[in-house]
Amino acid sequence: MEVVWAVGQVGAVWVAVVLGLIVLPSALGISLGISEAYMWVLVKTLEWATIRLQKGVKKPQPQMPQTPTANGIIERDETPMEKEIARLHRADFEFSHIFYFCRKGFEAIVDDEVTQRFSSEELLSWNLLTRTNVNFHYISLRLTVVWVIGVIVRYCFLLPLRFTLATIGITSMIVGTTVVGQLPNGSVKNYLSEVVHLTCSRILVRALSGTIHYHNKENRPQKGGICVANHTSPIDAIILTNDGCYAMVGQVHGGLMGVIQRATVKACPHVWFERSEIKDRHLVTKRLREHVADKSKLPILIFPEGTCINNTSVMMFKKGSFEIGGTIYPVAIKYDPQFGDAFWNSSKYNIVSYLLRIMTSWAIVCNVWYLPPMVREENEDAVQFANRVRSAIARQGGLTELPWDGGLKRAKVKDTFKEEQQKNYSKMLVRNGSIG
């Protein structure tokens, strides 16, 4: 009896602390500085760990120029095909052409640019999470002790705290939006809906120990516009809604996600599609166009890559989002992998284990840049416009641009791509007058 009472007391204290220190400030939009203090301690610890690591390495390292691992492990010759073959040219056509393709083939086999984007970026220095470094070896007792302490802190203290917060966040989102949804349509409803969405977003961000830096807030998406961003994980949406209200676009899911979707759509005009509707592209475009045409509606949030990429590059943007019209507000999101890997490798982890990994990382730190709005020009088609927006996002976020389709995670290269390359090669031969 006494035990139950004691546990009840502890529980009450716990909830009071959480409410007072975290939920209330989120609702009011103020910060108590706890996250900043946590981050400071974290950074100091990781710096110490890196120094220990450097001391622990026995053999002297030669001073090599630093090459970012994102570019792969082999030196690639980037000369375009025409130049390279012209160099090898001795007569009209001969054995030398095969050198070029042979070498390209081998380079692709040893290291290809695309597949490496679908697995997590490897860190240059260890951040005390074994999952981020493949070559973990024992270095020193002190380091291992710190690592063990880190594990205990993460799993026994941070995880329950974050789990509680996430539960509170999601519950209040569902309850709040359902309540607001009962009100008649009007400015009061819109205002309250924004308050609810923002508060719950902030709670959820704190549930992930997120530290987000927003840049260029003057370019924030306006009503009646379309916001496009690069996609790394499902929490991208939360990162963005932390700073503004958007109308989400997506497929209707079952389970908890479905409950959230149904509740939120009552308060705010999100656009949820049934699975069958998604197949019909014209229907999708029509609905989105109607939404955009209404200037009083919140900006739509779209991720044109279609799938999660590992945040080192931006892949092909699907042109559908760019055919709707209206103003596009590009946003670049770049996560700092030092504190936790936000990338969702959906072929390796399911959503539950992904969330578990996120909640047991140190923190989620990211930078969000709002880019100036873009409009499709007259002589541009949707694909060119999509590429222009993509370049702007890649440049701002420091990501590389790849012409590949994110769908390659699961499917093979389309034949049209292959033929393009072969056409280029044969065009070149014909031009050089070898047919005659």
């Binding site: 890196t50 690591l53 450097q54 622990g56 390495v57 390292q61 090599m64 630093q66 090459t67 570019n71 792969g72 492990i73 082999i74 030196e75 007569a91 009209d92 056509f93 001969e94 054995f95 095969i98 050198f99 070029y100 393709f101 042979c102 070498r103 390209k104 081998f106 692709a108 086999i109 040893v110 290291d111 290809d112 640019e113 695309v114 597949t115 860190l123 240059l124 220095s125 260890w126 470094n133 493949v134 070559n135 973990f136 070896h137 270095i139 390659l408 290269v413 791509f417 292959k418 393009e420 390359q421 072969q422 056409k423 090669y425 044969s426 065009k427 031969l429 014909v430 047919i435 005659g436």
Partner: protein, 216 residues
């Protein structure tokens, strides 16, 4: 053969004769790549190469993949194709693309060059009879040009014929009207490439990824 162990070896470099030593780091990279391609199995089959998008672009993709299973390249026999290769075989094929080292002497350089040219020769000589015939050469040209629907077979043929004639003139000199050029043997092939620096064109150079942070 070389005695290279399966899986990432210890810190000592593994000499793959007749080539200079590969560093253990490069072997680890290649091993990780091997595991990725084989999907964590011990051997790779032809189908595993289908998962590389960059390779799809390549018109001679078929020949490159074939080269990995060619028993002549694997130094196992003078003919035939293997069904699957293990990591050691993978390294053997990769070794054909080793860049030249500064400290190699004349004899080593010569052997190096011969091995690379032999690899290329095997790519052309698809029936493994030691000669590149006109038909085999035509096949290669057609494959290289296969993507362009506007280019007819006739054009591809004339390119091949022209190149063979040039090869014949280098190797055999002036031919009589009755002489038939059978095909390019490996010696002729070597002659064609005399004086031309192919070693720098047929290599894949590894970047030196700084190992300060990999916890060794």
């Amino acid at each position: 053969t070389g005695g290279c162990p399966e899986g990432p070896p210890g810190l000592s470099p593994c000499p793959l004769s007749p080539f200079p030593a590969v560093t253990s780091e490069q072997i680890e990279h290649l091993h990780r790549r091997f595991k990725q391609l084989s999907q964590d199995q011990l051997t790779i089959r032809k189908e595993n190469f289908d998962s590389i998008p960059d390779l799809e672009f390549n018109p001679i993709r078929g020949k490159i993949v074939h080269a990995f299973f060619d028993k002549r390249n694997l130094r196992q026999a003078s003919d035939g194709l293997a069904d699957e290769i293990n990591f050691e075989d993978f390294l053997t094929i990769m070794s054909y693309f080793r860049p030249i080292e500064m400290n190699m002497d004349e004899e080593q350089l010569d052997r190096f060059r011969k091995e690379k040219l032999k690899f290329l020769f095997h790519m052309y000589d698809s029936d493994h009879d030691g000669k590149i015939t006109l038909q085999e050469y035509r096949n290669v040209v057609e494959e290289l040009l296969s993507g362009n629907p506007h280019l007819e077979k006739e054009s591809a043929r004339s390119i091949a014929d022209g190149a063979m004639m040039e090869a014949a003139s280098i190797c055999v000199g002036q031919m009589g009207p009755d002489q038939v050029y059978e095909g390019i043997t490996f010696e002729d092939f070597l002659k064609m490439w005399q004086g031309i620096d192919i070693e720098t064109k047929m290599h894949v150079r590894f970047l030196n990824v700084d190992t300060i942070a990999h916890c060794y």
